[in-house]
């Protein structure tokens, strides 16, 4: 990985990464595939997030669904762990709570395959700042 030696360098890197064109890192355009984020803070892992993440990694491949599965930090919904966020191409992300393997299977079969929502959605109830200068 090349070093960032100036602010202009960093800005260039940001733009590359933002548009998802950095093909060295991602061979596929993440905007056109299903994106699954699993909340993997200590508490998430303690309530089974690791098993859920492994399930998605294994099952999405087995069921031939093009997807990017990543881990992320705490989403703040401790009462509903494990929590995951699923973003279908061209749609707003949806957060699901209490995701055990049964619900994970439902999410793949119903939401990811057909766009049909399943129980356990956690509505977003906050705003996040945008750091744009």
């Amino acid at each position: 990985m090349s070093k960032i030696t100036s602010l202009a360098d960093l800005k260039k890197r940001r733009e590359e990464l933002k548009s998802g064109l950095d093909i060295r890192i991602k061979a596929i355009d993440p905007e056109n595939v299903v994106q699954v984020k699993v909340a993997m803070a200590t508490c998430g892992i303690a309530s089974g997030a690791k098993t859920v993440m492994e399930f998605f990694l294994e099952q999405l491949e087995r069921r031939n669904i093009a997807a990017v599965i990543t881990q992320t930090g705490c989403m703040g919904y401790c009462y509903a762990e494990p929590t995951i966020e699923v973003k279908l191409p061209g749609q707003d992300p949806v957060v699901f709570g209490f995701v055990d393997l049964k619900r994970a299977d439902q999410i793949i079969e119903k939401y990811i395959k057909t766009g049909e929502l399943v129980d356990g959605i956690i509505p977003v109830n906050y705003q996040t700042i945008d750091l744009k200068e």
């Binding site: 960093l10 984020k37 919904y77 209490f98 929502l117 509505p123 906050y126």
Partner: protein
């Protein structure tokens, strides 16, 4: 893809569930079935919307219509009017409390602006183990801006003007702290990040380090540039293995990318960060104790002055800030002091992360602007009290804080208001208590923690807290006197006044605030020998109700200490002097013949 063209989202959170959201789902499905719409409209039960005060909630997608206080019988109207005819049901829409106008699109509702994520901006959004995702979210732009376009004095002024106060608990101005560290000349200075999160119930620092470690690294480098330091240290407790792993990954990635190390951005500025592990002592959250612990000495506080800004780690000028304080810095630099200071109250700017725990429905991590009321936090965002019980109090600031009662619910939360109410902001732990919690046992519980964690260096904290704990124990056992209450109060005040560091200066806070707000409960333990919440075992008595007892002997057989006597088919008797109040007999009795007096 989905054949559904419309979704009806019904809140299935505990609050809405209690007000019949199940029946709403059933009725909506029945209506849709009757109209033959089951294939195009889907009814979904969701988690809590965090708007429990106006529940039950039904949200219609894709048009974002937000119906509040819906009753099961409204299902028909929603289906006939909204689903079939496309007309919104005005009487069920949320009305703006100020303008009284109905709001048809939930995106316009002020409620969803109650939580504002600045510190948690990347938590649960980016992959914390991939620096690229942080960079894509404007990561390290603030460091770049600072190094290439600002002088250290300008950075300090910006932080000072933002009005940010330290999130570790004491609420000292961050900018002022940096300024003091800058003024002291030395060949080497240190930037220290205090990640020794020790309050029971607090986990915001861990979440930030696990979810967005780079924001802290970036801020530490900015601080280093401002005060003239090239070394950063993160003091983190060894009980946080995942946070440590992710920090290590983040530090390595930042080094590989040239964002830590020598000649950052080609400006000649050098800065690197190392980790130091703590063994999880509460007192090491105090900055002088923390510094001694990093030096390999005993984790004991020393008298200030000298402040760490003059003589800290290895006797060099040192600036110590908390994780949450650092995490907000990149946002302050990029969006400006003016923006940050526009959020919050007059003397407490920006947002605060709170960890909600205890008897609350939505246990979790939230971030709200300073000035949000406790009522909004507990009953809206937090979803209210678990199992429909009654709210009794909220302990803010962990064992160093106080317990606030119902009369404080509408107090806007900020540093000064919490102190005026007899508590502190602390790190932001909030433990919610309900009607089943005994305020004497609670004070005793927090004192137990302080007694454990006192380092023992100064007498008021070492001996005083122990005595407080003993007195509270006596009251719980029904052996207290009314004079003990005066003794508790006087001793608390002396401990606060004479202790060496923040630990002892705050440890009597739970006792003082609970005695203040729940005085009657303390008196009841002493004069009536009763625990109103039914928690203090030594004040309870298990008694047989002679009318219900059929003499089946089930209780006598299950009693582990043989405290129950009686002949078959005759009324049994419990010997209180032997009974250990384990409750096994009550569980076993099929005739409701045993009760607690």
């Amino acid at each position: 893809m989905s054949k559904y063209s419309m979704h009806l989202l019904v809140c299935g959170g505990t609050g809405c569930h209690a007000s019949e959201s199940d029946a709403i789902v059933c009725n909506l499905r029945d209506e849709l079935e009757a109209k033959g719409l089951m294939d195009s409209v889907q009814v979904i039960m969701t988690g809590c919307f965090g708007f429990c005060e106006k529940g039950p909630i039904v949200k219609v997608m894709p048009d974002n219509t937000f119906y509040v206080q819906v009753k099961p019988e409204d299902a028909q109207t929603i289906v006939e009017e909204h689903v079939i005819k496309g007309r919104k049901v005005t009487r069920l829409l949320y009305k703006d409390p100020v303008s009284k106008e109905s709001i048809s699109d939930s995106k316009q509702m002020g409620f969803f602006k109650k939580q504002l994520r600045i510190v948690l901006r990347n938590c649960g959004f980016i992959n914390p183990e991939n620096i690229d995702e942080y960079i894509a979210r404007d990561g390290y732009q603030a460091l770049g801006k600072v190094l290439t376009t600002m002088t250290p004095e300008e950075v300090i002024k910006e932080v000072k003007d933002s009005g940010q106060r330290g999130r570790g608990g004491a609420g000292f101005s961050t900018g002022l702290k940096w300024e003091l560290a800058r003024k002291n000349k030395s060949d080497e200075k240190y930037v220290v990040c205090n990640a020794d999160e020790g309050d029971p119930g607090a986990f915001m620092d861990r979440s930030v380090l696990e979810g967005d470690p780079h924001s802290v690294l970036e801020a530490m480098a900015i601080c280093g540039f401002s005060i003239g330091a090239s070394n950063g240290l993160i003091y983190i407790r060894a009980e946080y293995p995942l946070a440590i792993t992710r920090l290590k990954i983040a530090i390595n990635q930042a080094r590989e990318n040239g964002l830590l190390g020598n000649n950052i951005f080609g400006t000649g500025f050098n800065f690197d960060i190392k980790l130091r592990y703590g063994a999880g002592a509460f007192v090491c959250g105090e900055e002088t104790a923390l510094i001694h612990s990093m030096e390999g000495l005993r984790g004991e506080p020393t008298v200030k002055p000298p402040f760490p800004a003059e003589s800290g780690y290895l006797n060099k000028p040192t600036n110590v800030n908390n994780v949450e304080t650092f995490a907000a810095i990149p946002a302050i630099i990029l969006k400006g002091a003016k923006w940050f200071s526009s959020i919050g109250t007059e003397k407490s700017k920006g947002t605060k992360v709170f960890a909600l725990a205890g008897k609350i429905n939505n246990v979790g991590l939230i971030e709200v602007p300073m000035g949000t009321t406790l009522r909004e936090v507990i009953f809206e965002i937090g979803g209210g009290i678990r199992n429909g019980k009654k709210f009794k109090g909220i302990q803010t600031g962990g064992p160093s804080g106080g317990c606030l009662s119902e009369k404080h619910l509408d107090t806007p939360i900020d540093f000064d208001n919490l102190i005026a109410a007899g508590s502190i902001m602390g790190s932001g732990a909030m433990i919610v208590l309900d009607e089943d919690d005994c305020m004497v046992s609670m004070a005793k519980f927090f004192l137990e923690f302080t007694v454990e964690e006192s380092c023992g260096k100064c007498a008021p904290c070492r001996i005083g807290n122990k005595r407080l704990h003993e007195l509270l124990g006596q009251i719980c056992d029904g052996k207290g006197t009314l004079e003990d209450l005066d003794r508790l109060k006087n001793m608390s005040l002396v401990i606060k006044d004479t202790s060496l560091c923040g630990l002892g200066q705050t440890s009597p806070n739970p006792v003082l605030s609970m005695m203040d707000n729940y005085y009657d409960e303390y008196v009841a333990h002493i004069t009536d020998k009763k625990c109103p919440a039914g928690q203090c075992k030594n004040l309870m008595e298990y008694v047989v109700n002679a009318e219900n007892c059929v003499g089946c002997t089930a209780c006598a057989r299950v009693c582990p200490v043989n405290a129950i006597s009686g002949v078959r088919k005759e009324v049994h008797l419990i010997d209180s002097s032997i009974c250990i109040k384990c409750g096994a007999c009550i569980e076993k009795c099929k005739f409701d013949a045993i009760f607690i007096r």
